[in-house]
Structure formats: structure tokens, C-alpha cells
Amino acid sequence: MMASSYNAKEEDGHHSGASSGTGLSKNKKPDNTAFKQQRLPAWQPILTAGSVLPAFFVIGLIFIPIGIGLYVTSNNIKEFEIDYTGVSSDSPCYNCAKNFTWNTTEPCVCTVNFTLLQPFESNVFMYYGLSNFYQNHRRYVKSRDDRQLNGDLSALTDPSKECEPYRKSGDVSIAPCGAIANSLFNDTLVLYYVDSNNSKIEVPLVKKGIAWWTDKHVKFRNPAGNSNLTLAFRDTAKPVNWAKPVYELDPSDPDNNGFINEDFIVWMRTAALPTFRKLYRIIQKKSGTTPTLPNGNYMLNITYNYPVLSFDGRKRMILSTISWMGGKNPFLGIAYITVGSICFFLGVVLLIIHHKYDNRNTSADIPS
């Protein structure tokens, strides 16, 4: 269809001499340009041995060191992970897990003890991890209203349809609406360091700075026009599963309350994979040489609000330091080393074949 008439005008057949002009003087000879004659200087990327063989070696030689570097870096990252779901009966949270549903009003508290064998230097990031939680489910991911979260007043009282069935509670619209907000992770984790004389020292957990800057300052905004959040949200209902309304997420800090509560923001960024972790708190490095978390015994105090057993989920608490390449991940290092080695190996093999073929070719030509 596109090609219907490239030179149709010359073939229309009825151009009854309507055109006036330069027919005679104009030569139809095509231009002798490199482009039109398809003689543009061209690089033939794969046709020369000179470019192929070195490429293998170069890739090999670059990848292997990088892989080693990545592997070492990843190994230097300290990470500690503890599952507190309470599936097995000897788990301290067994009872909580067993009895707790979304409808339970009484908080259930359980305590998990653990030991860090190595001290954690530098800043330590405290995550909560969930498994088998499909935050990437298509309809779950959609079940939110970004305009409402951005402080749009009309969306506050009339949220997007995507939020169904968590759009309205009765006649009152829910803020924040949608399934994501409704399922906000609401366990409270408190970490204690148990020192040598068995006294508990609460580890200071920083709850601000865990969300992305753009989320905190651009994407999420409390409803405008009213500095008093209670008033701002007065026409809305709390999500069904929430114990308290959105303006009471962090009453102590107006900068971390309402939609711009960072725990909320972090939760709202849906995870890509069913097993994920989300940043919960940051443990700032103390000044001097003292490690952020020295080795020793710790006690994790959990206010167990979040039921996961209904979908076979698991809950974890993770402590980790990070490096320039992110969290602990030995895969990349190993993969780099592997790919690099393969390249190098291929290069060697091809070199050998090349040599053999070369000889065969030159010798074969002469007798025949």
C-alpha cells in the first residue's frame, strides 16, 4: 500500500500535456553520487578476522577483572537476615502469626533474639522482607490513584476507579485509596542491642530518608490548602485494613505524616518480584571507629500486625550494609567471570581454527 505509486505520476497515462516546463532540458541521468549508487564507504564489521578475534580477547580480559572486583565487593558486604513469620511452633512469633488476622484489634508483640557474629561497619540499612507477596500483580499494581497521592483535591474525594474495591467506604472516599495502600505493611520493628551485662540498649533507627527524593518531594504530597492534616482529610475514610487514618501515620513529625509518610511511600513503590525487601530504617554510623552494629546479641521487638500466612507469605528482617554496587549479590561477579572466561576460551579456539584453516586454504589452492 505504501508503495503504491513511486513513479505513478509518470504512468498515470492521462497527463495530457498539462505540465509545462523543463521536460526537454532535464536529463534523466541519475546522479553519480556515492549514496545513490550505493557506494558509500562502509565498514564491514564481521568480515575481517582482525576485528573479531581481538574482540573476544578484549571482552574476556575486561570482564574477568570486573567480575573479580564485583565478587570481592559483594563478599565484603555484610548482611544479616532473620525470618520472624512464626511458621514453626518453636518460633517466638508462632502465636501471633497463628491468631492474627486483619480484623484483630489487639496488637500482638513478639521478640526475636539473634546474634551478629561480625560487626557492621558504616551505615546499616534495616529492611523488612516479604516473600510470596505478589506486589506486582497486575490489578494490585494499578490499584492506586497517583493524583490523589499527589494532593489533588478532586481526586481526594473522588478517587480513580482503579482503586476499586477500595475506593469508597460507604459514601466516603478512602484516602489513600486502592489495594496497595490498604495492604500497607504495619509491623513495627524495634531493635535492641543486648550488651555483655544483658541490658538492652535500643539501637537508634532513623525513619526519614528511606524514600526516594522525588517520591517524597514531587510525587507524594498532602492535600493542599490546609496545614492541619486532620482537617485536610476530614472528608475521607481510612483504608479498611488500617488501624488509624492516614493523618496519624506519624503524628510526631508533620513532615512525615499523611501521604508523605516515608514508610507509606516506600510501600507504595511496588516491588518487582514476589520476594522482596523494603527499606525500613537506617542505622546511622556513629562517629569514630565504633562499628554501627558491633557483634553480639540483639533483640528484635516486633509488633505483629501484618498477617502473611493466608498466602503462605514470609516476613523477614534484614540488616545490610551497601557498597557502590548496591546490596550483597555474588551473582554478578560470578556471571562476569564466567562470561569473560567463555569469551577468552572462544577466542583461543577460534584462533586455533583460524590458523589451521589458514594453512589448509593456502595449501589447497595451489594443487587444484
Binding site: 505509486s5 497527463h15 490498604n182 577460534l350
Partner: protein, 1368 residues
């Protein structure tokens, strides 16, 4: 078809019960179905009635013409208002568009909705908009053009003002009288009513219509009472009945009924066709019968051709596999989702509340169809068309396909089969004009059984050829400007000479170089070479005897008669139009005719006592006072040169008149003496005259003189044979000087100018294979038929006369011998015959002929019949006269007519091979293309040409199949197959290359071919021809040509290409997969029906070997790449389903997802498809064997499809799982996870292309960089500014953050390298093995290949080696 319609018509008549109501009854409008049968009951078809629009038949006119279209044309498809609905309607005829419309609609169903509603529309909208814009532009161009045409001004008679007024073309109506001047363009189909030419003739140039550049003669409606006088439209009261508009350019039937009830038949010779140009006629007036869209020109106006290429058909199966793949993937997801749902006890994550798993799975199926829609490449079809446009652009611009002489490029008429050029396996070629120049040069002749070898002539041709090669003038052809456009604009300028323009531009180089003439003068088909025929001395002497009785050698009078008749026939038995380059023909200088007294005239006629003046009936003389006048002055000799000839100008005239002045007395006296003797000679040519001056001159001088005198003449012939013969005749001073509708003016040696009354022309037709003219012999007054035709026809029809059997059978025998000898030399042969009619016989025939002529329906058939009658039966029993060559059995019922026919002689015309034909054929054969030659020529000629063009070599075994009967044919085929098989097994036994050289060539003639094409013998014929290296079909009709092509195409399932230049090749060209027309000497029918039009045969090699190969490999690779790209990208989404509970989630912003294939990665494959060169052009030209790889579809075989799909699977696995493992368990968000995957997919897809590309130019680089920047620019913009723009998942900040992390880059690099590693290694080793690879630069490679093919003895073996090494 015709028949069918007739039957339908008859049925209707029966139903209506109104069989008596003929369509001759008055004033029937066109709407009726019943109004169309003639009194004879045989004639069917609708007709229209035209009343003149001169104000006097207003009522009739309005009643009848209401429904006729006006002359305004509109070629646009749409109007402003209907564009959108109609264009959409047309576009949704495509399955792909409908599919995507379905997806878009599906996305509106809430339960399966995958993306935002707008986003799924984007691909469809984009495609629709692109095509709509293209359509709109095209339509707009047409609109502008129509407007321009419609507003041309023409002078139309206005009934109220009683005069001609200027009007726009669009206001011209049927029935209008249109007044045209020279060089004006005809605005509508009209009947010629008046011409300023005294003979009522007008010339038109039909270049705009069919590209033929020779002038065509049109004639005022015969017996039109107003002829010759100034035409007054007011007094026109006739009614015109003619057939309804149709698209047959050469057919027009109807009659005109005058107010007194007299009917005059109308035929196509009366019709001036729209968009032709008036030439050589001062003014003409015509009445419009068809206007606007009903004109023949417009009804013939069909757009470019559409063919579906083989590759595209193949593509559909691949698309089908994609659909299957899609289905499997969606089904997997649906089942997976159902199972996943099932594993949860409660409703999960507070979204799905009550949907049962099975239903949810069903929903997911449809969701996945939407999500994975990219798998079906909607943009592929658009891309293919863009790529083909690009390819055509380059083919069109190829310098080596440009013909300098013709100033013509290759013309690509079919735009979507470029890649078929790369897969041709069988090539069917016409001979004349395709392999040869079709520039006929008279070479030798045989008259009266005496052969005149014309050795001088042969030498001259050789000299000419060598001159040609020395000066590197490769070919001299006429400018046959088939671009109607440029022609038409030129023809608008009225002030230039009225001669067809091509004659001005023809072969200036040659003229300048050889003769130093500043002003080139040639006509259509007359190259200088054809014009200059060196007379044979022997023949010259004999002819000279006519003028000089003192010559020692006195040939028999009969032989002389033969010779004169022969040359007379050469000169007049044709349809050549004579024009003079210097002066418009419409100014016929009759006034200057030196009138003599009546007495003198009478005296002169008395001298021609053999032909009593009184014998000429008044009616015969009546029509042409001019011819009478010329007849009167035939004795005026050279003085008569100025008489009614177009030559009346410049130095030549003055020189001739000087000659005249010098010797009037002398010649006058001698005439008288001479004429007494003449009476003794009883045959028709007795008029000889001696001129002492001339007698003393040598032959060379004579010729020179003749040429000087006649050089002014330009012959415009319909076929090159005619031109060659006319020029040959002129070389013997038998010169055609002018032609009008009713007379011919011929110079005869020793006689001077003769006006010959032309009674009829029975034009050439391929069934009869001959043409005839019926003239009244100027000297004898007898009615004479001259027939010129293919030797087979004439000789076959010849029958030994009863009386002087020995003499004539001897002549015939000898002539046949000469004929065979000519054919062996590769000459085209034509036989000339003559017969004399008695008056009563002529009258009888004339009556029947008139009847045939005036019949509206079946005119062609009747005329054909009539012509055959004349040409055959009249000579059937030519018993009383010894000099008969008579015709066979065909029409015994006319036995009572006795006449004689004189067999005059035969001519041999040489037709040189085009340049580089042998090389081209050799290259094509090396490329594995089987070349067949299908020709209408004689077997010997065909074989000879085949040798000349190296289709045959000396070692080849010729299998000849000429059978007399079908059974013999069947038996012969069996034998031949056995022989071929024997030869093959021998080859197999010896097993080495040497025996390959003796391959078999089948030569089959038309009759045998006819049997071979029948069902029973077909398989044997196929079997046989399949095993032969080449097949030559001679004596084949156009229909047989197309049948052969069809047979091979359908039964062997191969790609066929047909190449030809003439109307007889049209059917073959249309049947073949690829039809190529050669725009040469024989009009444009072949070109008009072809897919590609080239100007030389040698262009085929570049077109096929280079462009065909490239186009095929480009397109095949591009399609594969497209599929790869889609499969690879879609699989990324598919793998993700395993980690999101098969819920149809995607890890990418939907904008990016949709645009990824549509925009970010769409340009590189286009560039690849247009520019990639898998092998350099010179390598392809030098090693035609490389072509074979595409022939057998190696690039695009099914397993390559699956390899591509597998590779895509692998790459998508890597591309998904490397990031997966890199980010597993971390806090990565959905879109953050998609970011490195998308980025690396982009890199992989682009670099994959780089690896696959064989050449990379700066254009590739620019496009690659543009692709990258457009992607990253887009995602960065989105992540920087899209706060709530893309609900529900906004990509704000994602890419910015991702790209600030080193992990992103680490992942991308690893993913890209790991994904491409196998392809890279494979391509590398692949190339290495094929030795085109990395070891040598390519130049060294094919050098080594060439060395190899030289060291090996035969091309066949070289094939094997190269196939092994190069083609892998």
C-alpha cells in the same frame, strides 16, 4: 467474455420478447438493457447515440446526452469530506489492521484491560496515520493534476454564438464540435469531421497514450459530404451511433446517419483519441463522442500493478507461526494464572475477590493477547513497503541501468516485487528487440529465384559495427520517449517543427560523427545504418537496364517485371508515413505543380497504351484529383519531385530544379522515342526511359544522387522491418515519396514519380502474419494486391500453377533454398507476393469488404475474414497465368475467382544482437537461471541467434522437435527423454566436469509446442525441458508464449521472468512472476504491462544479479530480524509472568512498551533493509553463482525462521534473567526492574543488527545513535517530568535514579554481551566456514574464487566448488 455477454444479451431479449426492436431505432438512451441487437441479430453490446450540439438538435441532444459524462476528469479516490471514512474503510481491509482494531477494542473490556485504553491504540493509529498521509498526498497530487488538465483551454463550437469559443476542457460535452490546431492535444475522444488536409487526413501522435512515437494517420469520416470545404458545424445534422465506451484503444465501431438516411460506417481510423497530439495538420474539427472518464485513454488508465511476491507469501506462514506462538504463550499464562489462583486459600492481596480461577485464567488469556500483541508485527507490513520504496529508489537511480542514448532509466512499475528479482529460476526471453536491437537493416534479397548477396552491404554493416565499437558508441537507438509527461509538455509548444520530436534527437552522435550533418534527420526506426543500403551491383545493373537499353546484359522481361514489382511492393506495401523534417506536411505545395496543357496530358496517356485511360472508372479517379494530377505528370520526371511531395525546401530542391532546368528538352524528346517501344512489353512495367546523362553515371553516383534528393524524407514506420524495406527500396531509387489516404506517391527508377491509387490496406496481424495493400496499378490500371509476410505463410499458401509449372516451381524451390540460407545466417526473412485482380472479382470482394467495414459489431472478425479472402482465394486457382504462387486449401468456395499471383521475391533483413547479450546470457546461466527463447521467428533464425548470443555452444547437443502429428510428437518426446537420460547417466558415470559441457538444448517449433502444451504430453514436455540447459521455441504465437510460461511456473513451482519488447510478448509478461518490458522500437505495450521496464537486455544482469540478490537478501533478512526483534522483546514480558502470578503485569511503562518496537527500534531495520549489501556489487557481477543462494531461498528457509526464534528466546532469557538475578531479593520496584531490562534489550537488538549487517555506513551509525538517544531521551523525559501523566504506574524518577546507579550499567553490559555472544560467535564461524569470513578481506576472497573457477575446466564444476565453499 464477449461470447458470454452475447449469450446474456440474447437471454434478455428472449425474456423481453422484443426481438424485433433493433438498436437502430431512434434515440434510445443508454440505460436500456434491451436496446442492443442489430438487425442481423448477431451484433450485441450497448451503444450510444450522439447528436451534434450545435443548437439545432437541442431536444434530441438533451434527451440523449443527459447521461453522458462531461469531459471533466477526476482521478482522485477521495474528496475532502469522504477522505477519512473511505480511507479508513480501505485500510481496514487488511487483516493486520483489523487484528489490531480488535485488540484495541479488547482493551476496553474492563476485566481484560491491560493498558490504558489510549495506549493500545497507538500502534494502530500510527500505522493508519502514516498510510493515510501517504494516500492523502498522492490523492492531492492527482487532484492538482486533474485541475490543471481540466482547465486546459480548447476551442469549442458554441451553438448560440455560431462560432468557436474558448472553453475549458472540463466544459466540453459529448456532441460538441472541437476545433484543434496543429500540436494541440485532443481533449476527448472525437470523430474527425474535417481536416485542413485536402485528403481529409490528419496525423496524430499517440505517445501520451501508448508511447508509440510514429505518427498515426486518421481520416475524416468517409463520404463525409463536407470534406475538403470549410466545415460548418451548424449544417451538421447527422446522428452518430457508436458503441458504448470501452477501453479497447484500437477498436471503434459505429455509423453515422445523415439526415437523408444514408449511413456511413465509422471505425477507429476516424477516431481522435484523447491526450494524443495533432501533428502535421493545420486544423481539424471533430465531434466529441466520448468525454471525460469515458474516453479510451481514461478507461485504459490503470494505476501501478500489484503483485504479491513469493517472499511475502512466505512471510504469511511465518506470521501464522507467530500467532501460534502467541496463542501458546497466552494459554500458558492462562493456565498458569488459574493454577496460581488455585493455590491461594483466600482472596489474595485484597484485589481479586470472587473470580473463580478458571474464569480468571480465561480473562488472563485475553489480557495476555493484549500484552503480547507486539509479537504480531503490525509495523512489519508498513516497514516492508517502505523498504521496497527505498530499494526501488536505488534501482531507479542506478547509473548502470541508465541508457544514455534513450535518456531513460529503468522504470519500476510494480513496486512490491523487488525481491522476486533475486529468485528467478527461469527466464523467458523474446528474441527480436529483446536479444537483438530490432533495428532492421536490409541485408540481401532474392528475386525471381536469383539471389543478390549485397556483399557491399554486408561490408558496410561490418564497417559500421567496427566503427561503432571503436568510437564506443554502443548503441544507437531512437529516443522513444515513453515518458508521456515530458513529451506532452514539449508538444505544447506549437512553434516548433511538426515532426515528431524524437526524430530531432535521434542519434545525433552518429550523424555528427559519420556524416557531419549538423541537422540530424531520421524518422522512427530509421537509423542511419538502415537508411544506407548499398545496392547490389548485379541487381543495380538489371535495374539500370530500365533506364538504359544499351546495357549489354538484357534480362528477360519477366525478370525485370519481377524486379520492378518487387521494389514497388517494398516501397508501397507498408503503412509507413512519410514526413519531411523541414516542413509540416499539412502544407502541400500543390499550387506549385507545373501544370501542362490538357493536350500534353492526353498525349502522355496515350503513350501508356497498355492501360487505356478510359478503363479507369470515374469513381476511382474521383476521390483523388491529386492522384490524377500526379498521374498526369508522371512524365515530368524530376520536375515532379516538387509535385505533391513534401520535399519542397532548402538546397536539395534547388539543386534538383537546377538539374531539371539543364535538361528538359533532352528528356522530353527521348521520352517520345522511347515510349513507342514500350508498348511491346506486355507486362505491367514497360515504361522505361533513357536518360543519357544518367546512363553514363556509375551506380555509386546514382545512389548518391538518389540519396541527396531523398534524404529529406523521413519514414515513420510501425515496425522496423517496414522501415528497412522502404529504405532498401529507396536505395534502388524506388522511393516512397508521400502518402495520403487514397494515394501513394512513388518514384520509380526510370519512370519518375508515380501516384498510385491506394484502394485498401489490409494491415498486418499476427494471425495472418502478413499484410497487403490493394492498389490500382499506375501503369496497367489493374487492381493489384501486394502481400508481404512471413515466408512460412506465403510459401505455404503458394501452389504450383498449372501452366508453367517447371519455371515456377523452380523459382519457388530456389527461393526456398535462399530462404533457408538466410535463416541460417540469422536473417529475418520476408516474402513479397503480388497478384492481379479482375475488376469484377475486385468488385465482388469490395462489396463484402465494405459490408465488413461498416458493420459495427464484429468488424474485426469480418475484416480479418475479408482480408484472408483477398489474400488467399483469389490466387487459389491461378491457373491461367503461369506466374502464380498460390494458396492452399483454406477457402475453396471462392474457386470461381481466378487470378494470378506473382511471387516476387524474398528479402533478408539483418537484426543485430544488442550489445553484451552473450555476456549477459552467460552470466545468467552461470547464475543458475535457465534461459528460454520464445520467438515467432523461423527455427533456423532462432538457432542462429541462439548461437550468436552464446545460448548454444558448439558442444551442446541440439534436440529438435518438429513433429507432424501429435502421436509422432509423443513418441519423439519419449525418445528425447531417453536420450537426455542417457546423456545424464553418462555424465554420472564419468563423474567429472568434462561431460558437463555437453548439455542438451531443446528446439521446438510452434506446432509441436502446441501439442506439447496439451494435457497428455505436458508432463513429458516438462520432464524433457527440465533436463535441458535451454529451450528454444520458435514459430510460437503470443498465446503459446504465455502458456509455456504458465506451464513452467505452475508445474515446476519456480520463479519465472519474462522479458520482451513487443505487443506479442504482453501475455507472457503478464503471466510470469516478474515481467520485464524492453522499451525499444516497438511501442510501449510490453512496457505498459511489465513490472520493470529496461531499455537494453544487458541491464538484466545487473538488475537480477545485483539488485535482485540484494533486494532479496535485504528483505529476507529484514523480515527475519523483525520477527526476531518482536519475539525477543515479547518474551521478556512473558518471562516476567512467571514472577507476577501470570497476572499480565509488565515491568515497563506502557508507553515505552508500545513505542519500543514502533519507534525506538523501527528505523534500523529499515536502513538495514534498504542499504545492506551482503556482498559487493562487483563480486555479484563477477560471480553470478552467488545468485543461486537466493534462488533456492537459502536465506529464508523455514529452519532459519526457527533458528531466529530460538536465538530470540535465548537472548530474551539472558536479557531477563541476568537482571533478575542481579536484582533478586533486593528492594527493586517494578519499573526499576524493567529499566535495565529495557535498556539492555535495546542494546541487544541494535547490536544484533550491527552483527547481522554486512556493511555499516555513516547512515547506519546515525540511525543507531538516533535510536539510542530517542529511547533514552524518552525515558529520561518521562522519569523527569511525568508526575501523574501515566496512571496508574508513574515512572517518575525511575530512570534518573537507575542511571545514577552503577548496578544498572554493570547489568546492562553483562546482559548485552552474554546475549549476543552466541550470535556473534556463530556469525563469525559461519563466515569463516563460508570463507567469505574473517580470514580475508572480501576482495581477496572473491579473487581467489575467480582463480578457482578459472582453473577448473567447466563452469558447471566451478558451480559445485563455489557452492561448497562460498554458498555453504
Amino acid at each position: 467474455m464477449e461470447r458470454l455477454r452475447w449469450v446474456q444479451q440474447c437471454c434478455r431479449q428472449l425474456l423481453a420478447g422484443d426481438s424485433r426492436r433493433g438498436w437502430y431505432s431512434d434515440g434510445l438512451p443508454t440505460s436500456s438493457l434491451l436496446n442492443t441487437h442489430s438487425p442481423r441479430g448477431r451484433v450485441c453490446g450497448k451503444q450510444r447515440t450522439v447528436f451534434p450540439r450545435n443548437g439545432r438538435h437541442q431536444q434530441d441532444y438533451e434527451r440523449v446526452s443527459r447521461n453522458y459524462k462531461s469531459n471533466a476528469i477526476s482521478t482522485t479516490k477521495y474528496t475532502f469530506l469522504t477522505f477519512i471514512p473511505m480511507n479508513l474503510f480501505e485500510q481496514f481491509h487488511r487483516a493486520a489492521n483489523l487484528y489490531f482494531l480488535f485488540l484495541t477494542l479488547l482493551n476496553w473490556v474492563p476485566v481484560v484491560e491491560a493498558f490504558q485504553k489510549e495506549i493500545t491504540m497507538i500502534p494502530l493509529l500510527l500505522v493508519l496515520i502514516i498510510i493515510a498521509i501517504k494516500d492523502a498526498l498522492e490523492d492531492f497530487r492527482r487532484y492538482l493534476f486533474d485541475k490543471k488538465v481540466n482547465n486546459n483551454v480548447v476551442r469549442v463550437f458554441c451553438g448560440t454564438q455560431k462560432s468557436y469559443v474558448d472553453q475549458c476542457w472540463k466544459n466540453v460535452q459529448v456532441g460538441d464540435f472541437v476545433h484543434l490546431s496543429c500540436n494541440e492535444i485532443i481533449p476527448a475522444d472525437m470523430l474527425l469531421l474535417y481536416s485542413s488536409d485536402p485528403h481529409g487526413v490528419c496525423y496524430i501522435e499517440t505517445a501520451n497514450l501508448d508511447g508509440e512515437t510514429n505518427l498515426k494517420q486518421r481520416q475524416v469520416v468517409s463520404d463525409f459530404p463536407l470534406q475538403g470545404e470549410e466545415f460548418t458545424p451548424e449544417s451538421f445534422h447527422s446522428r452518430i451511433e457508436c458503441e458504448n465506451p470501452n477501453n479497447d484503444l484500437s477498436r471503434f465501431r459505429g455509423y453515422m446517419e445523415h439526415s437523408n438516411g444514408v449511413r456511413v460506417g465509422l471505425h477507429s481510423g476516424n477516431l481522435l483519441l484523447r491526450s494524443c497530439t495533432i501533428r502535421n495538420t493545420e486544423t481539424v474539427v471533430g465531434i466529441v463522442v466520448y468525454a471525460g472518464h469515458e474516453t479510451k485513454a481514461m478507461m485504459n488508465n490503470s494505476g501501478p500493478r500489484y503483485k504479491r511476491s513469493k517472499l511475502e507469501k512466505h512471510l504469511n506462514t511465518d506470521i501464522l507461526w507467530c500467532v501460534v506462538l502467541l496463542f501458546v504463550m497466552c494459554l500458558t499464562a492462562a493456565i498458569g494464572h488459574g493454577l496460581w489462583m488455585n493455590s491461594f486459600k483466600e482472596s489474595i492481596f485484597q484485589v481479586d475477590t470472587e473470580t473463580p480461577p478458571a474464569l480468571a485464567g480465561f480473562y488472563i488469556f485475553w489480557t495476555m493477547v493484549i500484552v503480547l500483541q507486539v509479537l504480531i508485527p503490525i509495523s512489519l507490513y508498513v516497514s516492508i513497503e517502505i523498504v521496497k520504496l527505498g530499494q526501488i529508489y536505488f534501482i531507479h537511480n542506478d547509473l548502470s541501468l541508465y541508457n544514455k542514448q534513450l535518456d531513460s532509466r529503468i522504470q519500476c512499475r510494480a513496486l512490491n516485487i523487488t525481491e522476486d528479482l533475486g529468485q528467478i529460476q527461469y527466464l523467458f526471453s523474446d528474441k527480436t528487440g529483446t536479444l537483438t536491437e530490432n533495428k532492421m537493416v536490409f541485408r540481401r534479397c532474392s528475386i525471381f529465384g536469383v539471389e543478390y548477396p549485397h556483399e557491399e552491404n554486408a561490408r558496410r554493416l561490418e564497417v559500421y559495427e567496427s566503427e561503432n565499437t571503436e568510437t564506443a558508441v554502443c548503441s544507437v537507438t531512437l529516443k522513444s520517449g515513453y515518458s508521456g509527461k515530458s513529451l506532452s509538455c514539449r508538444s505544447l509548444s506549437c512553434n516548433r517543427s511538426s515532426v515528431s520530436l524524437h526524430t530531432l534527437t535521434a542519434e545525433p552522435m552518429e550523424e555528427d560523427q559519420l556524416s557531419g550533418h549538423v541537422q540530424p534527420r531520421t524518422g522512427a526506426f530509421c537509423s542511419r545504418m538502415a537508411k544506407e543500403v548499398v545496392p547490389d551491383p548485379a541487381l543495380g545493373r538489371k535495374l539500370n537496364w530500365l533506364t538504359n537499353h544499351s546495357s549489354s546484359e538484357t534480362p528477360s522481361s519477366m525478370e525485370l517485371t519481377y524486379i520492378t514489382d518487387f521494389f514497388l511492393a517494398l516501397a508501397i506495401c507498408n503503412s509507413v508515413v512519410v514526413s519531411s523534417p523541414n516542413q509540416p506536411r499539412h502544407v502541400i505545395p500543390e499550387e506549385r505543380t507545373p501544370l501542362k496543357s490538357l493536350e500534353e496530358v492526353k498525349l502522355m496517356f496515350q503513350r501508356f497504351s497498355f492501360s487505356p485511360f478510359s478503363a479507369l472508372s470515374p469513381s476511382q479517379i474521383k476521390g483523388s484529383p491529386h492522384s490524377l494530377k500526379s498521374r498526369l505528370f508522371i512524365r515530368g520526371k524530376r520536375g515532379s519531385l516538387t509535385l505533391s511531395t513534401p520535399v519542397s525546401n532548402t538546397t536539395d530542391v534547388s539543386s534538383s530544379s537546377q538539374e531539371n532546368d539543364s535538361k528538359p528538352d533532352l528528356s522530353a524528346r527521348e521520352e517520345e522515342e522511347q515510349d513507342v517501344e514500350d508498348q511491346e512489353t506486355e507486362d505491367d512495367l514497360k515504361d522505361t526511359q533513357t536518360n543519357p546523362d544518367e546512363a553514363r553515371q556509375s551506380m555509386q553516383d546514382l545512389t548518391k544522387q538518389v540519396e541527396e534528393i531523398t534524404d529529406e524524407l523521413v519514414y515513420e514506420a510501425e515496425s522496423p522491418d517496414e522501415a528497412a524495406l522502404v529504405h532498401a527500396a529507396r536505395a534502388y531509387r524506388c522511393t516512397l515519396r508521400g502518402r495520403s489516404a487514397e494515394s501513394l506517391l512513388v518514384d520509380l527508377p526510370g519512370i519518375g514519380s508515380l501516384a498510385i491509387q491506394l484502394l485498401h490496406i489490409l494491415p498486418f496481424d499476427s494471425n495472418r502474419k502478413r499484410m497487403s495493400v490493394v492498389v490500382r496499378h499506375p501503369l496497367t490500371g489493374q487492381v493489384v494486391v501486394f502481400t508481404k509476410g512471413a515466408d512460412s505463410v506465403i510459401m505455404d499458401l503458394a501452389e504450383s500453377p498449372t501452366d508453367q509449372t517447371e519455371v515456377y516451381s523452380h523459382i519457388k524451390e530456389k527461393t526456398q533454398k535462399h530462404l533457408d540460407a538466410y535463416a541460417r545466417e540469422g536473417l529475418r526473412t520476408l516474402c513479397i507476393a503480388k497478384k492481379v485482380l479482375k475488376e469484377d472479382e475486385y468488385d465482388l470482394w469490395l462489396k463484402a469488404h465494405m459490408l465488413a467495414e461498416s458493420s459495427i459489431e464484429n468488424r474485426e472478425e469480418l475484416l480479418l475474414e475479408s482480408a484472408q479472402r483477398l489474400e488467399t482465394n483469389l490466387t487459389l486457382l491461378g491457373s491461367h497465368c503461369s506466374s502464380d504462387l498460390n494458396h492452399s486449401i483454406s477457402e475453396l468456395k471462392y474457386q470461381h475467382l481466378k487470378r494470378m499471383r506473382v511471387f516476387s521475391g524474398t528479402t533478408g533483413i539483418v537484426d543485430r544482437l544488442q550489445e553484451e547479450v552473450p555476456e549477459t546470457i552467460a552470466a545468467l546461466q552461470r547464475a543458475g537461471i535457465k534461459v528460454w527463447v520464445l520467438t515467432g521467428d523461423k527455427q533456423e533464425t532462432a538457432i542462429n541467434i541462439a548461437y550468436a548470443c552464446k545460448l548454444l555452444c558448439a558442444s551442446d547437443k541440439l534436440l529438435t522437435a518438429n513433429c507432424g502429428s501429435k502421436d509422432a510428437c509423443a513418441a519423439l518426446f519419449e525418445d528425447l527423454i531417453l536420450e537426455v537420460q542417457g546423456g545424464e547417466s553418462l555424465t554420472a558415470l564419468t563423474g567429472n566436469g568434462e561431460s558437463m559441457s555437453s548439455s542438451f538444448i531443446l528446439v521446438i517449433d510452434g506446432r509441436t509446442l502446441g501439442w506439447a502444451l496439451e494435457d497428455e504430453l505436458r508432463s513429458n514436455f516438462l520432464e524433457l525441458s527440465r533436463r535441458c540447459k535451454a529451450v528454444i521455441c520458435c514459430r510460437s504465437t503470443p498465446l503459446q508464449k504465455s502458456q509455456v510460461v504458465q506451464l513452467i511456473r505452475d508445474h515446476l513451482g519456480v520463479m519465472t521472468l519474462a522479458v520482451g519488447d513487443g505487443a506479442n510478448d504482453v501475455s507472457m509478461i503478464q503471466v510470469a512472476d516478474v515481467g520485464i518490458g524492453i522499451s525499444g522500437q516497438e511501442g510501449m505495450q510490453a512496457v505498459m504491462s511489465s513490472d520493470f521496464a529496461i531499455s537494453r537486455f544487458k541491464h538484466l544482469s545487473k538488475l537480477l544479479l545485483v539488485h535482485g540478490h540484494w533486494c532479496y537478501s535485504r528483505l529476507a533478512n529484514m523480515i527475519q530480524y523483525f520477527i526476531y526483534k518482536n519475539v525477543m522483546y515479547v518474551n521478556l514480558l512473558f518471562w516476567y509472568q512467571f514472577f507476577c502470578g501470570f497476572s499480565g503485569s509488565v515491568m515497563t511503562n506502557s508507553w515505552v512498551l508500545i513505542l519500543f518496537n514502533l519507534i525506538f527500534t523501527s528505523a534500523p531495520p529499515l536502513i538495514y533493509g534498504i542499504l545492506n549489501q551482503d556482498l559487493p556489487a562487483d563480486a555479484l557481477m563477477e560471480l553470478p553463482e552467488l545468485y543461486q543462494d537466493a534462488q533456492t531461498s537459502k536465506t529464508f528457509v523455514p529452519y532459519m525462521f526457527w533458528i531466529t526464534v530460538l536465538d530470540a528466546f535465548y537472548q530474551s532469557l539472558v536479557c531477563f534473567f541476568v537482571p533478575y538475578f542481579a536484582y533478586a531479593g533486593s528492594d527493586v520496584g517494578v519499573l526499576s526492574f524493567g529499566s535495565p531490562i529495557n535498556a539492555s534489550a535495546l542494546f541487544i537488538i541494535l547490536l544484533h543488527q550491527v552483527i547481522e549487517s554486512n556493511t555499516l555506513t555513516w547512515i547506519h551509525m546515525v540511525v543507531l545513535v538516533l535510536s539510542c538517544t530517542s529511547y533514552f531521551g524518552f525515558v529520561l523525559l518521562l522519569s523527569g517530568f511525568c508526575v501523574t501523566c501515566s496512571p496508574p504506574v508513574n515512572p517518575l524518577g525511575i530512570e534518573l535514579l537507575q542511571m545514577s546507579h552503577s548496578l544498572f550499567y554493570i547489568t546492562c553490559v553483562l546482559t548485552t554481551v552474554a546475549a549476543l555472544l552466541p550470535r556473534y560467535a556463530h556469525t563469525h564461524t559461519h563466515c569463516r566456514n563460508s570463507c567469505t569470513g574473517s580470514v580475508f578481506p572480501l576482495g581477496a576472497l572473491y579473487n581467489s574464487l575467480i582463480i578457482k573457477s578459472f582453473t577448473l575446466t567447466t563452469p558447471g564444476d566451478a558451480n559445485v566448488v563455489i557452492t561448497d565453499t562460498a554458498i555453504h
